[in-house]
């Protein structure tokens, strides 16, 4: 049996009498790029927050990097990276200061922190911008720095929440190159996105509708199953049946 | 799906204005916590000033240094203790001990009796007492000393029996406008001034700057909406809140605090409206000049509210200020509104008495509106 890096078994989360996540089951293997799709309000964000250790399940089970989401949330946090579109970096700190902070927080030793800082700056080609405030950098650079910062401690899984909003296709492509590179080194990438073409880059995807997983599998297989040409159409077909509406 | 702008129906300015004002009003109403404070602050302040705060000096702790107690010293000490102005706190045996009591803050006054007090009084016809006051707070010290002196004087008169001393001049005193000497009522116009300045200037400026911070301001500015509507739309809900607060203050003053009636209320409301417009304009000026909510709050609180309060005459008497500060107070709108409001509410005066301050306030308001308009236009261009 494969060791799943992320596993959900009848995972349920209720808020009062509203069931945001309804007994979902999914497994993600190491090194996979997993696309977590769904309309607003379908339960994506809630599920992801449970996986990140930010929220407790109401019932069912979720395991991330071998730790239980209910009882071992603190350990999960050490094993994962997280990047959201807006909030990963401190705008009023420089690039280097941001890297140093997060590296230190994730437990890297003083030596490693220094080493990582130079490495990331070089790798991203940011030598000229290293001492600039993050607020003053273009969005595309911010995103790449965010990803580097989120993975500074070589986590087993990195969660990406709508990471590529607001940039042009070329920048998006560059970002995905970073993701491929990380996945090839064994990191699992769990990404949610609105861009359906990005879904095609993923090894497997799942589509959430009304709190349940309506489809899960390889993009090509799912499209064939449902008789659609691409993931975009697949999404539309499934989302149409939704009764919940996002905000 | 591009929309042809020319094809959009022409929405009248008035309709747009109404829609915008309603949207802003909804935002204000939805923010329960802020609303709670904005409506509750005047209530709490009125209650505090009305029932808890007073400049009257009562229950001052005093100690007695009496090395040879006798009938008179004990009698006099008791008399002081009986008064509601004083609370007897203990005996001391030396001046050093007095210092210690003062340092601990456990007493404000020390009454020192010399030995043979009673004997001197009866056989020599005169004796001395020494009152030592902790003058850290000079006014209170002087009030406390005066009270004690008055009690001593009364005791002295009683000792002399019923003989009316020749050359006695009786003074009949009348306290006007405030017969019970409740230092309280002046705070009513003061609270009004403070609340209107806070609400009008700070809230409006913060509200507008928040849009700036979020970036939604630019969006609104490039829309077909007249920018004036944007500004007025932000101000109107706070104008309404200000008026509601004025009504709350009036209701509490008359209903709960027994402020003597007789004030010309319509006149008061009209003047309040004038002042509110002034504070709203101030808020607009601030919002045109700062970029962040935090700055708007800082400027409003420390830069505007505090000096306005200081120069208004509410907290500190203007006539006691050094000349340069008195001059400055003339250009501070709160000073004039405070004067107007107290003349109407406390002294029950009519328009004739407040023509001058009203004109000055109106002039300032117009000036502020002009500045707000100019700075706004500058930002747009």
């Amino acid at each position: 049996m494969t060791e799943w890096v992320i596993e959900a078994e009848n995972l349920t989360r209720r808020f009062g009498d509203f069931t945001a996540v309804n007994a979902i089951n999914l497994q993600v293997a190491a090194g996979e790029i997993f696309g977590f799709l769904g309309a607003n309000g379908a339960g994506k964000t809630t599920a992801m927050r449970i996986f990140c250790g930010l929220l407790e399940p109401t019932s069912g089970r979720a395991t991330v990097a071998g730790f239980d989401a209910m009882t071992q949330a603190e350990q999960i946090k050490r094993q994962i990276g997280y990047m959201s579109q807006k909030f990963s970096l401190y705008g009023k700190l420089t690039v280097k200061q941001n890297i140093r902070f997060f590296a230190g927080i994730y437990g890297l030793s003083g030596q490693q922190v220094k080493h990582k800082t130079t490495e990331i700056v070089e790798r991203l080609g940011l030598a000229t911008a290293a001492d600039k405030l993050v607020d003053d950098l273009p969005l595309g650079w911010k995103q790449r720095i965010s990803f580097a910062v989120a993975t500074v401690h070589q986590p087993k899984v990195v969660f990406l929440d709508e990471p590529t909003g607001g940039v042009d296709p070329i920048v998006r492509r560059q970002f995905w190159d970073m993701i491929f590179e990380a996945a090839s080194r064994g990191m699992t990438v769990f990404v949610t996105t609105h861009y359906m073409d990005e879904a095609e880059y993923c090894d497997r995807v799942s589509i959430m509708v009304d709190g349940s997983v309506a489809a899960i599998g390889k993009p090509a297989d799912l499209c064939a199953e449902h008789g659609v040409a691409n993931v975009d159409e697949l999404f539309v077909a499934l989302a149409r049946k939704a009764t919940r509406h996002g905000d | 799906m591009a929309t042809d702008r020319r094809a959009l129906p022409h929405v009248s300015g008035v309709k747009m204005f109404r829609a915008f004002v309603l949207k802003e009003a909804k935002h204000v109403l939805r923010d329960r916590r802020s609303l709670f404070i904005l409506l509750g602050l005047p209530v709490v302040m009125m209650l505090l000033f009305g029932f808890a705060l007073s400049n009257e000096v009562k229950n001052s702790n005093f100690v007695v240094l009496d090395r040879a107690p006798d009938a008179s010293t004990v009698g006099l000490a008791d008399r002081i203790a009986e008064s509601s102005y004083f609370t007897y706190s203990g005996r001391v045996d030396s001046e050093a001990e007095i210092a210690s009591w003062f340092r601990r803050g456990d007493a404000r006054l020390a009454v020192m009796f010399p030995p043979n007090f009673d004997h001197d009084l009866r056989h020599l016809g005169h004796a001395q007492i020494r009152l030592i006051a902790d003058a850290s707070d000079p006014n209170t010290a002087s009030t406390v000393t005066n009270y004690a002196t008055a009690i001593v004087a009364q005791y002295q008169t009683e000792l002399g029996g019923s003989h009316v001393r020749p050359g006695a001049i009786a003074v009949e005193t009348r306290m006007l406008y405030n017969p019970q000497l409740k230092s309280s009522y002046m705070f009513v116009p003061g609270v009004m001034t403070l609340i209107l300045m806070l609400l009008g200037a700070m809230m409006t400026s913060v509200s507008i700057v928040r849009e700036k911070e979020r970036g939604t301001m630019e969006v609104l500015l490039v829309s077909p909406m007249n920018p004036l509507i944007l500004i007025l739309g932000k101000a109107v809900p706070y104008l309404v809140l200000c008026l509601i607060d004025v009504l709350i203050i009036l209701a509490l003053s008359y209903g709960l605090l027994d402020l003597p009636t007789g004030a010309n209320l319509p006149l008061l409301l009209a003047e309040s409206l004038l002042f509110i417009v002034a504070t709203l304009s101030l808020g607009l000026v601030i919002s045109n000049v700062v970029q962040q909510q935090q700055t708007a709050m800082f400027v409003s609180l420390v830069g505007l509210l505090m000096p306005s309060l200081v120069f208004s005459g509410f907290m500190f008497p203007i006539e006691n200020m050094p000349l340069p500060l008195q001059v400055i107070s003339h250009v501070v709108p709160t000073r004039w509104f405070y004067q107007i409001a107290s003349n109407i509410m406390i002294k029950h005066l009519g328009f004739a008495a407040i023509v001058k301050p009203t004109l000055i306030l109106a002039g300032m308001t117009l000036g502020l509106i002009a500045i707000a308009w100019r700075t706004f236009k500058q930002r747009l261009s």
């Binding site: 603190e74 | 802020s34 505090l48 006051a133 002196t149 000792l159 002294k347």
Partner: protein, 373 residues
């Protein structure tokens, strides 16, 4: 606690980049300390008195001259009738109107007693009270002078006189700033400790960076300490600046020891930081945080004896005042500055402040845990 080091590094970097906070720390003390003590002179002096002389005799003239010579009063008008006198008060041009009735001198000579009328604009109770007290004292003096001059027509039995001498300790020159300034220093500290700190945390809430912190291995207590410690430092800095301004602008230096002041400040700050933290857990926006902090501070300060004395408050208010940390700190700073009180003198207050620090921080932590579950 390695994390704490990195967190503090980040916080201090951010604070130094934030112009508004820096301005508040430096400008606010200067403004408040310069403006308020200069303006806050409560001394009742130059009471505007109008004298209505209906007697026009040598005695009434002498009384008028006595008033004119006094420092407490300045004669602003001599109205011709009662109506005119009242108008002067209405217009705010006179605080007190002294009416010398017709027959004043005649009555004094014939019957041995006479009367005067004093009307006071009591809108400002303190001023009216002290004004009339001074006037009465003056009349008494006048009375004594008359008596010593012209011996009474009727022989009078010996009536005792108690002579009262007074002394003022600690502020003999009646220097008002000596009283005001030490009272303002705690306000500075309170604003930094409660207001700025809550604003800072709420800013992070609004920006969403707290969520980012939540996914990292940073523990909750590390986060809290990371917020409290920098503002504790800033609070101590602001009181230092305040004391320097007091020295430079008002020549005020504590009569007691600095250590006492700093010691109490350190403890007090922990308490108000707890308040700031608590406020940040119950608010969602900067605006709310500002309003609620302002509200809490205003209530504390008004009930704190800065503006009106605590002893004058009714029972229930005094009992509330017992739970008012700023009230204690204000009294402590004043006592140390003016009277040279030592920590030993103020031990009970020290204990109380410690109690507050524990209470508010416990409250804050409980609220924080509850809301970020």
């Amino acid at each position: 606690m390695r994390n704490l080091f990195y967190i503090l590094q980040k916080e201090f970097l951010l604070i130094f980049r934030d112009k508004t906070i820096l301005r508040m720390i430096f400008i606010m003390p200067v403004m408040q300390l310069l403006l308020i003590p200069l303006a806050a002179d409560y001394e009742v002096k130059h009471i505007a008195i109008a004298i209505l002389d209906q007697d026009h005799t040598s005695d009434s003239q002498r009384l008028i001259q006595k008033v004119a010579a006094s420092n407490y009063f300045r004669i602003v008008a001599t109205p011709v009738d009662y109506q005119a006198g009242t108008e002067l008060m209405e217009q705010g041009r006179a605080d007190v109107v002294l009416t010398i009735p017709p027959g004043f001198q005649r009555d004094l000579a014939k019957t041995g007693h006479s009367s005067l009328q004093l009307g006071a604009d009591a809108v400002n109770g303190v001023r009216a009270g002290l004004g009339t007290a001074y006037a009465l004292a003056m009349v008494r003096q006048f009375q004594t002078e008359l008596r010593t001059q012209s011996p009474p027509a009727l022989p009078s039995p010996l009536s005792p006189v108690i002579e009262v001498t007074t002394a003022s300790w600690y502020n003999p020159h009646v220097y008002y700033p000596a009283f005001m300034v030490p009272g303002l220093l705690p306000i500075l500290v309170t604003m930094v400790g409660a207001f700025l700190s809550s604003l800072n945390i709420v800013q992070e809430k609004e920006a969403g960076t707290i969520e980012q912190i939540n996914v990292t291995p940073i523990r909750k207590h590390e986060f809290i300490l990371g917020k409290l410690i920098p503002f504790w430092v800033l609070g101590m800095v602001s009181i230092t600046i305040g004391m320097l301004v007091a020295r430079v602008a008002f020549q005020l230096w504590p009569a007691g020891s600095f250590l006492t002041i700093y010691g109490f400040a350190a403890l007090y700050l922990v308490g108000v930081l707890g308040i700031g933290l608590f406020v940040s857990t119950i608010t969602e926006s900067q605006q709310q945080a500002t309003l609620i902090s302002f509200f809490i501070m205003m209530v504390f300060i008004l009930l704190g004896g800065l503006y009106t004395p605590i002893e004058s408050m009714p029972r229930w208010a005094q009992q509330i005042a017992a739970f008012n940390p700023p009230a204690y700190f204000i009294s402590v700073v004043r006592a140390v500055y003016i009277k040279g009180s030592s920590a030993a003198d103020l031990l009970p207050t020290l204990a109380r402040l410690a109690g507050f620090a524990l209470f508010f921080n416990a409250l804050a932590i409980w609220s924080y845990k509850k809301r970020s579950a």
